[in-house]
């Protein structure tokens, strides 16, 4: 097709968030041993139960081996070359208000479009901004407090709600779960904590922007969200990281617990630095996300738009323990240039009449490799369980790949499981049709890709659906060939 060269020439607006904020960081020297784990815990003045838990995880991690079953190729990670803690140095004391926060930091957030100040109120968004490892600004805590909702940095919850942490931490993702999650348990630095009391509908969307800034710093944040009986909460995380030639490790853990009749909607827009066009640099994103529908009629819904990272390894899943509980997974994952994504979900049906829906949209471009890997497991107790899975792949160009690995284990004859899959290309016919109606090739591609992703985008909170669509447009700009 003659338009190809022109299309390629349009490629690459580049990574818009690749700036480095020049602030003094307080970083522990690279390397990992028990003393580092103790140091992190001591810095945060953690109670003994938490230190003990970290140490048990660390001891366990030392026995574990890095997994290599995913369809991913990357150089070995030297875990001793990483610094496990980095905090922006406070000027004097810790910031008490936004006025105390380093203006450069605020500038960074402005560039990212994080709505602080009044913008946040207008947008109805409360932001718990995590900068490297320490939360520096938390907004709207008071309005949430009126509703009884706890939304704070993880390190604060350690002191304000230790009893909730002790009860729920590690109850969905145990410290023995997997190599990266176990590492996170040992060295996690901060993250977000949410507790929604019985019967409360959280009055606003909760949102956290994560950002990796310091070079050679792994980021190991942890999020724990507890929706008590009959409560309802929607949470969005957005991620961005600066441009660097070396790879950076990101190994987060997210745990969700939904009790009777509770609902949690967790949306992710992941835009970590993907590396350059030749595959240099970029984030290694090894993330464990799991929710447990512990109560009857509970519902957990994961929606993710994964456009960034050099490597993505994540399988947000649901343990459907409660009767009539519902798990949902809606995903758009893109792999452009040399990006590799191995992502999907796990739906574990335990409760009777539990239901799950999986909709996965994979987009591959350039040399990108995109893999859907999903497990649907129906336990003997899950009478009447139902699952519906649909995996669609869209290829842009001839050098990328799409792979689908659906695993199904049904141990209950009364369960219903459906699976549909498709792979397609943006056809020249579609492109030409749009151009003939006056759209430029880029707009045409964006429109076709958005159409492909529509089922997932409509699950995102409104204000983020637009952002996700724009992000996708930037990520795939001109990636047709």
């Amino acid at each position: 097709m003659s338009g190809n060269t022109e299309l390629s020439a349009l490629f690459d607006r580049g990574y818009e968030h690749g700036f480095v904020t020049d602030i003094e960081s307080d970083t522990i020297a690279a390397g990992l041993d028990e003393s580092v784990v103790r140091l992190i815990s001591a810095r945060k003045r953690e109670p003994k139960f938490l230190l003990d838990w970290r140490l048990r995880a660390f001891a366990h991690w030392r026995q574990m081996r890095e997994p290599h079953w995913a369809h991913l190729h990357y150089p070995p990670i030297d875990y001793q070359a990483i610094s496990y803690f980095s905090a922006p140095k406070p000027r004097g004391d810790a910031p008490k208000s936004l006025a105390d926060v380093d203006p450069k930091l605020l500038e960074t957030y402005a560039k990212l479009g994080v709505p602080l100040h009044e913008r946040a109120r207008l947008a109805g968004v409360a932001v718990d901004a995590v900068f490297d490892s320490v939360s520096v600004a938390t907004t709207f805590k008071s309005r949430l407090a009126e509703a009884g909702v706890v939304f704070c940095p993880f390190s604060e919850a350690v002191h304000s709600h230790p009893e909730l942490l002790e009860q729920y931490l590690g109850s969905v993702v145990p410290y023995t779960d997997n190599f990266y999650a176990t590492l996170n348990c040992a060295v996690f630095s901060d993250g977000s904590f949410v507790y929604v009391p019985p019967g409360v509908r959280c009055p606003m969307e909760l949102s956290t922007y994560f950002r990796i800034n310091a070079a050679n710093t792994g980021q190991f944040e942890r999020t724990l969200i507890i929706a008590d009986a009959g409560s309802h909460v929607s949470y969005l995380e957005g991620c961005t990281a600066p441009m660097r030639d070396e790879n950076q490790l990101h190994a987060a853990v997210v745990e969700l617990v939904a009790l009777d009749d509770a609902q949690i909607k967790y949306s992710t827009v992941q835009n970590w630095y993907p590396g350059d066009a030749e595959g240099r640099g970029g984030i290694f994103n090894f993330v464990t996300k799991r929710g447990e529908c512990r109560g009857r009629n509970s519902r957990i819904s994961w929606t993710q738009v994964e456009t960034g990272s050099a490597i993505t390894w994540k399988y947000p899943g649901c343990v459907l323990r409660g009767e009539n509980s519902v798990g949902e997974f809606y995903s758009v994952a893109t792999a452009n240039n040399h990006q590799q994504a191995d992502t999907g979900t796990k739906m574990i049906h335990i409760g009777a009449n539990s239901r799950s829906t999986i909709v996965s949209k994979g987009i591959s471009a350039g040399h990108g490799q995109n893999t859907y890997r999903g497990l649907v497991k129906i336990m003997p107790s899950a009478h009447g369980a139902r699952n519906f899975t649909r995996c669609d792949s869209l290829l842009l160009g001839s050098q990328c790949g799409a792979h689908t690995f659906p695993y199904l284990e049904s141990r209950n004859a009364l369960a219903t499981v459906e699976h549909e899959a498709s792979t397609s290309r943006i056809s020249e016919d579609q492109l030409f049709y749009c151009q003939q109606r006056g759209l430029g090739p880029e707009d045409a591609v964006n429109m076709i890709v958005s159409g492909f992703c529509r089922e997932v985008f409509k699950e995102l909170p409104m204000e983020f659906a637009v952002e996700a669509q724009n992000l996708l447009a930037v990520t795939l700009e001109g990636a047709v060939g």
């Binding site: 016919d429 579609q430 003939q436 006056g438 159409g451």
Partner: protein, 256 residues
Amino acid sequence: MNAPLLQIDDLRVSVAGTAVLHGVSLTVRAGEVHAIMGPNGSGKSTLAHVLAGRPGYTITGGAVRFDGTDLLAMAPEERARAGLFLGFQYPVEIAGVNNAYLLKAALNARRRQRGEAEIDAFDFLNMVRAKMRVMQIDEALLTRGVNEGFSGGEKKRNEILQMLVLEPRLAVLDETDSGLDIDALKVVGRGINTLRSPDRAVALVTHYQRLLDHVVPDQVHVLARGRIVRSGDRELALELERRGYDWLLEAAAAVA
């Protein structure tokens, strides 16, 4: 007589190394309706696609001017914005892309070209609804994916709807009549006639003369083996209906 809107001079085109058009010349003036007829494989659709700038064709000779400018130098979307519309023989499905969304994006692209502001959403909807009634298209199709799950007839009527909304200067309709039943043909014919005006032109690419009962052409051309072998008025189409194409093909072969 009006200045030529479309002027094709000795156009030669090949596809994958095989010559398909061997020197086609044609002049279409504003206000005129031309019918381009011919047997299968004569190059009719190639001509329509080349005018719209579809990739995959090599221009080996000749020139095409649209409203005085070099059409072949323009990108497909530039041709569209300048007012050249192609009604597709096989309109493509685009899953998940709202029909109204594409239509509005297309209209705004055209308006920007003319230096006009984007159309107000309310005005757009009213205008489109009125034109849908002309084309007897169910309003529900507006919110469906582009051509997604449309019947053959719905797709063709949707093409004409797009044409009516975009109000092109030149509409090239590639076998819009194929696969239509009698009633749908009447509706499509009415739609095309709605567009007729002294400053617009229509080129109907068709296999049969039955559409010409509804849209009466000013000129009829017969394309065969990559050449225009005969031009005439409406009578020529009726003669083709009676005699078929063979007598013209034989005559063309004798000349060649």
